[in-house]
Amino acid sequence: MRQLLPFYALLGLAGLAPLWLGDYGAGLLLGMTSAAILATAWAMFSGPTRYVSLATVAFYGIGAYVVAALAESQPWPVVLLAAAGCGGLVALVVGLSTLRLAGIYFVIFSFGLAELIRQLLTWYEVNVTGTLGRYIFTEFQPRDLLWQLLVLLAVTLTLSVWIHRSRLGLALRVIGDDETVAAHAGINLARSKLTLFVISSVLISLTGAIQSPRWVYIEPSIVFNPTVSFTAVIMALLGGANRIWGPILGAVPLYLAFEFLSAHFPDHFSILLGLLFILVVFALPNGVLAALERLRLRKGAGV
């Protein structure tokens, strides 16, 4: 865990940033931290097992909705616990599907599940509560939310490192390489996959929960926006989903690129972003981290 110490220090420093960065800087850091957690948590399960999940936004939205339902009546820690609990429970059910499905079938299955949850929630709100939008009024300033997210990022990374080194991580990598071999090697496929999927989903639910007070008003189309799922996948793949630092190294530059492009080219954002993706696929085939390593190797050889 020692390799994480400088990182904790960096996160601590980021926590001080709002003191001199102002609202915009704090907001930017907040969004970036959230993106980093989502990408890392996604990669925690999908990296080693190669199950590409598009259900990220389902858990993110569940977190936000739990906050909207409970924030006014319960103390904040209880709200967060409830969000984690709900996310974990749904993850358990979704995770069971990984026992039967694989490859592209799982990808679209997870997407369908996220949409189904959104549809059912909408139906419930319309027919039972009679409203769709919910309001979240809390006392949190952006910097309070940023601090919570930074702690969550630290937790996420610590977990990620721990899993990577544990028996569980090894088991998952074997599963990703060949499920049949894994089963023969005595790995309990179901338990390993489920455990990890639940952990990853709980982290995602917490991210949605912590971030939601920023929006004041939520409705299914806002918090179940499928773009969230896609961005998490893209960021993690860009950085390298199989490495601990990969997702963060994908999330940070991509997030900044989103911000830069939408600030400077608001009318051409989509086109430039698309070109950037295509460029990345062709120029950095194995992700940013692999490219960096190759660069270092080449330098090393040159000296």
Binding site: Y24, T122, T131, R214, W215, Y217, E219, S262, P266
Partner: protein, 404 residues
């Protein structure tokens, strides 16, 4: 480059003009522009709404102001307007951050709001904390009075579900009293903010007016086929049909109603009905179709505004929130001309002053615009206001609607 709209071309030209303004060495003598920022959805699912109602009016207004020499200040001097815009990509988080950026990085003088209830609510606390007046035009909410109290510098200009449902119920009840309809109403509503607000307001109000809801169902956003629903409605015995719908469904309903010759005496559909492309979609058979909103068909100012909008943007505006959006900007300009650029003072003036706009003389009540057209109807090639019936310029509704 075939098909590039006038608006896209205008956007390009506008960009060039602004950079020339800020970079041109010969412009050193020109007064410094007033910087006005806005964030709106230029991409993503909300882009269609913002692209029809919000963005074209912002651009048109800036162009009009600059053509007239710029914003007037209390001392009689004039300063041009410079628009700075960001895309929230239809995400509430990005809308919030763009407002933070406009305030702390660009240090703009005023911030114009995004399109849509959700986005306006997302930025409302921030606008309040940063001290910017918030002219929330495209937010239909019954909670406007609470919000105006919670955020003192916020202004709510589109009314709430109760206003629209109430006026609709009165219109139908009046037709029933005159023996034009049988008082049985079939209602469908989209399972999203707009539909739910309206239907939950409508249920008790329709009952109060002695109308019977014989069919009342919601449908999910993104529904493309209404054949089954229309069949059900036809056999329900209702001769008034109401749909609290969004544009894609509004258009689909009109097309499918024509196909099966579904001709209820009142045909009321939601957002999209007052759009300028509606007559084209129903091949000119729009006569008598009702919806929310409307404009004063006799107002010369409105006619001139429609004409200018068509010239500059390429299409006429929609007949619900567009004119109100433009009016909110006129209010801002007039407030600035009276009290200057101090945001606190401008907010005070917006709350208490009275303004001369395209929608007539406007004075807000408790930070809300209450002079609204609540029910409108296509009559000829205009979508005119028919309720509240006692408002100046109100037309008598055409009931029963002629067959498609």
């Amino acid at each position: 480059m075939i098909g590039f709209t006038r608006r896209a071309a205008m956007g390009l030209l506008g960009g060039v003009a602004i950079s020339a303004l800020s970079l041109g060495p010969g412009m050193a003598q020109a007064p410094e522009p007033v910087r006005i920022g806005y964030v709106a959805s230029k991409s993503g699912p909300a882009a269609a709404g913002a692209g029809i109602t919000t963005i074209p009016n912002y651009e048109l207004w800036a162009k009009d102001v600059n053509a007239a020499g710029g914003l007037k200040l209390p001392d009689g001097s004039q300063r041009p307007v410079e628009l700075i815009s960001y895309d929230d990509r239809s995400s509430a988080e990005d809308a919030v951050r763009a407002v933070e950026r406009l305030a702390s990085q660009d240090k703009v003088d005023f911030i114009l709001p995004p399109w849509g209830t959700g986005f306006n609510l997302a930025i409302a606390p921030l606008m309040d904390r940063l001290g910017y007046p918030h002219l929330a035009v495209t937010s239909m909410t019954d909670k406007a009075p609470d919000f105006a109290k919670r955020w003192k510098k916020s202004f709510w200009m589109l009314g709430g579900g109760h206003d629209y449902a109430g006026a609709l119920a009165q219109t139908v009840a009046k037709a029933q009293a005159e023996g034009k309809v049988n008082g049985k109403v079939a209602v469908i509503s989209v399972a999203d903010g707009f539909g739910i607000d309206l239907i939950s307001a409508a249920r008790p109000i329709f009952k109060e007016q002695g109308l019977e809801l014989v069919y009342d169902q919601s449908y999910p956003m993104g529904t493309t086929d209404f054949a089954a629903i229309i069949e059900e409605v036809k056999s329900s015995g209702a001769d008034s049909f109401v749909a609290f719908s969004y544009p894609p469904e509004t258009f689909a309903l009109a097309k499918q109603a024509r196909t099966v010759a579904f001709n209820p005496k009142i045909f009321f559909t939601g957002v999209g009905t007052p759009f300028p492309n509606y007559p084209g979609i129903v091949e000119g058979r729009q006569e008598g179709v009702m919806s929310v909103g409307g404009v004063d068909g006799n107002s010369e100012k409105i006619a001139a505004y429609f004409k200018r909008h068509a010239e500059v943007v390429g299409t006429p505006p929609d007949s619900w929130a567009s004119a109100i959006t433009y009016a909110s900007l006129e209010m801002l300009a007039q407030a600035v001309s009276r009290v200057g650029l101090d945001r606190e003072a401008v907010a005070g003036e917006l709350a208490s002053g009275s303004f001369d706009t395209v929608i007539g003389e406007v004075k807000l009540e408790d930070n809300q615009l209450r002079q609204l057209w609540l029910v409108g109807q296509w009559q000829g090639d205009k979508f005119v206001g028919v309720a509240p019936a006692d408002r100046t310029g109100a037309m008598a509704p055409v009931i029963p609607k002629p067959a498609w």
